[in-house]
Symmetry: C2
Subunit: 409 residues, 2 copies
């Protein structure tokens, strides 16, 4: 592996994704390694959103449901996400939040497996996945949550299990589950799978069809760069769509929403998972953002994602920086991030931010650095580790201002 | 009532809300009478959204959750809606869609009334209200929907009823329910009320506190002008908040979302009804839009809304235009719209649109004209009826192009 800044520059020159960075509006003097939390701004968004506000909303008003195709946005954006996750264009829609979509699909899975009332997941899963399951359990009769460590997942899958819900790439550790193997195990037990792709879509080669996956959700504002609180997406395998029922049977999922009939009749296919009127502005921004993926080879995307992480860890190790490793060392088992541990992790992240290197901190002691392959360069990784070394060698993190805990991030 | 265009101009000059129209970016040559479906574009939105995209997202990135107050948006926008609906600032949040919020509150109401499993509503209610209740019934045990005509509502409220769900202003007829009387009747039966304010908020003097209302939802993109698919709002009365449980227990409704703990613990107050990450762009547009209501007296708003409707109907009647009346004639019983019937309603609406008068059509035969008091003038009503008369006298609606049914609206 390369070990000079010049060699990193050479890698950038040879990068098949090098031209993508110019599609983003990145702030000067910032090395942004937090695209796993909020993706950077694609340049195409502003003009597209301006047109949606000024022309579609302001000038054409209600007509735009037809003339600007607002009504088709959830399916159109879903079809653009589909190739990034190995799904068919008719299996994905974009709407609502990841949490709401988790509820729809987990509840729907229970209906698809009558008689089975157990949902299996792992402790430490992204909180909203766990919280949504707890809400389901508290409202539906006899639902049992079986929260088991990854090693115990196979043995937890028995004939009572309706659903296995896992996040493909763990938000904190970056560890990647073997989607194909776990899906096969779930199917062998007669259970369905629901994969949360929030930390995989747009950075990894996700292959839902190849894994025989049943259901999936994911986030629009992380590697997909759809903007803060962007609509999320969901996937329902073609083979399940005709039977699928959502508890959130809102009018946009009706077979004929503008017939205004009193009785709910689900739309054909994945469209039945729509609920209320979707955020047109949010979907417009997300659709424009997805243009940055147009023509991208997912193999290139994943190869760069792994190389960026490997480079970061190798540079860290050469400098013997005093961090624990909270992510897998092997790139194939790691998402597009590295996770380190340090008792002063919070202050170290703040000191790095003061130097223009944006990562983030997750309690109690984890520093996360995400590598969005479309806009993070090899030289950025080099420079980030230089800054991290400086923060540690000079003990900058001891400054009191870096130790004041802010409300969020 | 005035009966000349000059008299209408005089009414506009005397209108205490006359200055508000300049806050909207209305297209030239258009009389927009469809603000009850999609509110017009407030001028403040574009600059505010530009700043959110360019500065908050593009430049400040993840920091904006703190520095731009993204995390507070649902409560901040809710607090701005509160005075329009007679609620406390701590009783309203803006997030998700009306449909999703209906589900949260209807399911939560069943929890608040253990042992009662009946939800009462009326036939012909806005479809999503009915569809969401049907979804609840199909997923929760033993839920019964009692769908009864308005006249039979009081007798339908018995000791099995957990919830009465009604739309305050009927989307099609514009008829206004007596919120105070029906809430009192529901309470006398031990039931809760859930009011859908989608066609009232921003046009009527809604007084949730004064009516002793329990729960409410409403739309952000009709009279509140938040833009297509804007986030909706919901209200939970202060006295119910501590007990309130939502099935959609996502991470944004957690007491400490950024603690990333495995166990859901609801936030205090109405914040517990938040679910996933809300649409920051959608909330930003809605917040900017609500500035148009700043300092508006709801009495003025409602008085103008009634007078605009009365003027429309009186001018219609004077000209003996051949329409049936699908809305109440008495303005106090009518929302901020008039609804007419005609067997060729669809083509007539299309012919009016060709003349720049935007109303809408609802199957099978209803023409709707909405009067958003912030930007519709008395002269607009005069001119709209002139156009309608011309369409009828010249039989413009017979043109084949006006009889081709489009996919939506």
């Amino acid at each position: 592996m390369t070990l000079s800044r010049e060699a990193c520059e050479a890698l950038d020159r040879a990068d098949p994704l090098a031209d993508r960075r110019a599609l983003f509006d990145l702030p000067e003097g910032v090395i942004y390694l937090d695209g796993n939390s909020l993706g950077a701004l694609p340049r195409a968004v502003k003009a597209r959103l301006d047109a949606a506000v000024t022309v579609e909303w302001g000038r054409d008003l209600i007509k735009s449901w037809n003339t600007a195709g607002w009504i088709d946005l959830p399916a159109r954006v879903g079809a653009k996400i589909a190739p990034l996750i190995g799904a068919g264009a008719d299996e994905v829609i974009a709407a609502d939040s990841t949490s709401v979509n988790l509820f729809k699909l987990a509840a729907g899975a229970l209906k698809l497996r009558p008689g089975r009332r157990v949902i299996v997941t792992e402790p430490g899963n992204f909180p909203t996945d766990l919280y949504i399951l707890q809400g389901l359990r508290d409202f539906l009769p006899d639902v049992e949550l079986r929260v088991v460590a990854p090693a115990d997942l196979p043995s937890a899958l028995d004939e009572d299990v309706a659903l296995l819900l896992l996040t493909h790439v763990h938000y904190k550790s970056g560890a990647v589950h073997d989607m194909a193997a776990l899906t096969a195990k779930a199917h062998a037990a007669g259970a369905l799978t629901l994969w949360d792709l929030s930390h995989s879509a747009g950075a990894l080669e996700v292959n839902l069809a190849g894994c025989g996956a049943d259901l999936a959700v994911g986030c629009g504002y992380k590697y997909l760069n759809g903007g803060p609180g962007a609509p999320a997406f969901l996937f329902v395998s073609r083979r399940l769509q005709a039977e699928f029922q959502t508890p959130l049977s809102g009018w946009m999922g009706h077979a004929a929403p503008f017939a205004f009939s009193d009785d709910y009749r689900p739309a054909p296919g994945v469209l039945r998972t729509l609920c209320g009127t979707p955020s047109v502005l949010g979907l417009t921004a997300l659709e424009a953002a997805l243009e940055a993926f147009s023509g991208v080879d997912l193999c290139d995307l994943r190869a760069k994602s792994m190389k960026l992480g490997d480079l970061f860890l190798e540079l860290m190790e050469r400098r013997r920086l005093p961090f624990g490793l909270a992510c897998p060392r092997a790139s194939a088992q790691r998402g597009s991030q590295v996770s380190l541990t340090h008792p002063n992790g919070y202050a170290i992240v703040q000191a790095l931010i003061a130097r223009g290197v944006i990562g983030d901190f997750r309690a109690p002691d984890v520093l996360r650095f995400g590598f969005a392959p479309l806009y993070v360069r090899y030289v950025d990784v080099w420079d980030a580790v230089e800054h991290l070394a400086a923060v540690m060698v000079r003990e900058e993190w001891r400054e009191p201002r870096f130790n004041e805990v802010a409300a969020v991030t």
